[in-house]
């Protein structure tokens, strides 16, 4: 029987929640924190895994070791798979995002986003835009995970570029606003990444 693992040990600021695996053609493929994988093999260069969820599902990748010397290899993988389920509610008029068991957060919502049920996709890649450096500073409420945006897929409509993300208002998105006293996005990110609806989505978001 296949044994499952997940990407772990990537929460430091060097990785900021992402680990690049290499395809057979040496193409970099980013996997987010807690991505479920199965281990096919190990070799001196790394661990050969199969991605078991998300957009990269079924890809065979080589993951590097976190630490490596002549005698010892330390893996990024862990057996602590994400299992919890949470619900998110967005109150459009009040501009409040409610995350079950975590709290309420101030948001900015684009007017074009319609009420209804959305699912949050497992992130596929970091969004490498030029962002305000303050967003990364956790001393003033920023987060190392600001490059992780969660794509929202409407249960009714087609796939659009609607994201739940942190920072300053952007068109067509739900933007979680800064709170200088604590890192809002760290809380939301860590909560969402530990949740799964299925092997495609993290959680559901209801907009009312």
């Amino acid at each position: 029987m296949r044994k499952f693992f997940c990407i772990n040990d990537v929460l430091d600021r060097e990785h900021s929640g992402w680990l690049n695996g290499l395809t057979e053609d040496e193409i970099k493929t980013p996997l987010c924190y807690k991505t479920k994988v199965s281990l096919n093999n190990k070799n001196p260069n790394g661990e050969i895994i199969r991605v078991e969820e998300g957009i990269h599902k079924e890809k065979i990748l080589t993951l590097p070791y976190k630490y490596k010397d002549k005698k010892t290899n330390i893996s990024y993988l862990s057996t602590e798979l994400p299992a919890s389920k949470i619900s998110l509610k967005l109150f459009r008029n009040k501009k409040i995002l409610f995350v079950e068991n975590v709290g309420k957060f101030n948001v900015e919502v684009d007017k074009k986003i319609v009420k209804g049920k959305y699912n949050l996709l497992i992130p596929e890649r970091p969004i490498l835009k030029i962002l305000n450096p303050e967003y990364f500073s956790e001393k003033i409420g920023g987060s190392r995970f600001v490059e992780t945006w969660f794509r929202m897929i409407s249960e009714k409509g087609k796939q659009e570029d609607i994201f739940l993300h942190y920072g300053s208002y952007s068109k067509g998105c739900v933007t979680v606003l800064n709170n200088r006293s604590f890192s809002v996005w760290n809380k939301i990110y860590l909560t969402l990444m530990s949740c799964r609806l299925n092997n495609k989505y993290l959680a559901a978001l209801l907009i009312t």
Partner: protein
């Protein structure tokens, strides 16, 4: 001159050691200020040099006081513990070696029209300044030797504390130079320093750390943060020097966790001892508890700053 030659012909090794140590520490002190000896006196392009050379009192304090203070402290330690003789001449030698290797070299370069030295204002004025400084620094060393004999200098400090202080001074100088050099040319963030230190740890050491932390239910990120910090402050090559030091002075702090011990202990053992003594059952500690524990472990402000920064480098708040 004859007295000096006579002194040097009879010089015992215990007099060489303080000379060697003092000259190194003086040099490191100036390196920390990016003092490109001896251009400092005339340069106006370097802000540090400008700040120092703008006032004669500041200039002479900066030039002479380090030689006096460092030589007197080192010599007082050696006279107390090894009863060395000829303190003034040893001090004079410290000043002379230091000044000849800096101002003397510059003087020679000016004399031989070497292009590697910048000339300012009047060449002969510059040469006479160097010659004058050689005399003054040598005299400072002499004064340092005289002061080193005085009992008031270290009457209450135990030997181990003096040794530790000398090492601490040496390592602080190395660290300051390291950081100064890093920040001088380009901006390198705190994160990069932490990242480099983290990635320089060996896999077997990290594996050992993980095993020990699991055994004692210790907070892995916290222990790792301390390893990263100590590895910045005392990198592997410095810890190797500490090992050599342990053959002479057994007592000290050893290993990557800088554990106090009466004999040498390696990185692996230092993790075991530190985790067992300080970090048992800390796996679920809150942020406040972590900070308190760190300050109990080592209250030095620089250590605390980097340890907390390393901890939150590894683990996001939230």
């Amino acid at each position: 001159m004859e007295i000096l030659l006579d002194f040097y012909s009879k010089i015992p090794w215990l007099n060489i050691l303080p000379i060697f140590l003092s000259v190194i520490i003086i040099r490191l002190f100036y390196l920390a200020f990016k003092n490109k000896w001896p251009e400092l006196y005339f340069s106006v392009s370097d802000y540090t040099s400008l700040f120092i050379s703008v006032s004669p009192i500041r200039y002479f304090s900066f030039t002479l006081l380090p030689a006096i203070i460092i030589s007197s402290l080192i010599l007082s330690f050696f006279v107390k513990n090894f009863r060395i003789q000829n303190l003034e001449l040893t001090g004079l030698s410290i000043g002379l070696i230091h000044s000849l290797s800096t101002n003397g070299v510059a003087f020679w370069k000016l004399l031989s029209k070497n292009k590697s030295i910048a000339t300012f204002f009047n060449k002969y004025f510059q040469m006479s300044m160097h010659a004058f400084t050689i005399i003054l620094i040598s005299l400072s060393g002499y004064i340092g030797g005289f002061l080193g004999k005085q009992k008031f200098l270290i009457p209450f400090i135990p030997t181990w504390a003096v040794i530790d202080n000398i090492w601490a001074a040496l390592f602080s100088s190395i660290l300051t130079v390291f950081f100064y050099k890093i920040y001088r040319n380009e901006y390198i963030s705190e994160d990069i320093i932490i990242e480099k230190s983290k990635n320089s740890l060996s896999a077997s050491l990290v594996k050992h750390l993980n095993t020990i932390c699991e055994k004692y239910q210790a907070n892995k990120d916290l222990v790792m943060a301390i390893c990263i910090t100590e590895n910045i402050q005392r990198p592997l090559w410095v810890r190797k020097i500490e090992r050599v030091k342990s053959y002479v002075f057994k007592s000290g702090t050893y290993g990557i966790m800088q554990v106090q011990s009466n004999k040498y202990i390696d990185d692996y053992k230092s993790i075991e001892i530190a985790v067992e003594e300080f970090f048992k059952n800390t796996a679920s500690f809150s942020d406040n508890e972590i900070t308190n524990l760190l300050s109990k472990y080592n209250s030095d402000s620089k250590f605390l700053y980097f340890a907390v920064a390393s901890y939150y480098y590894l683990l996001p708040k939230g």
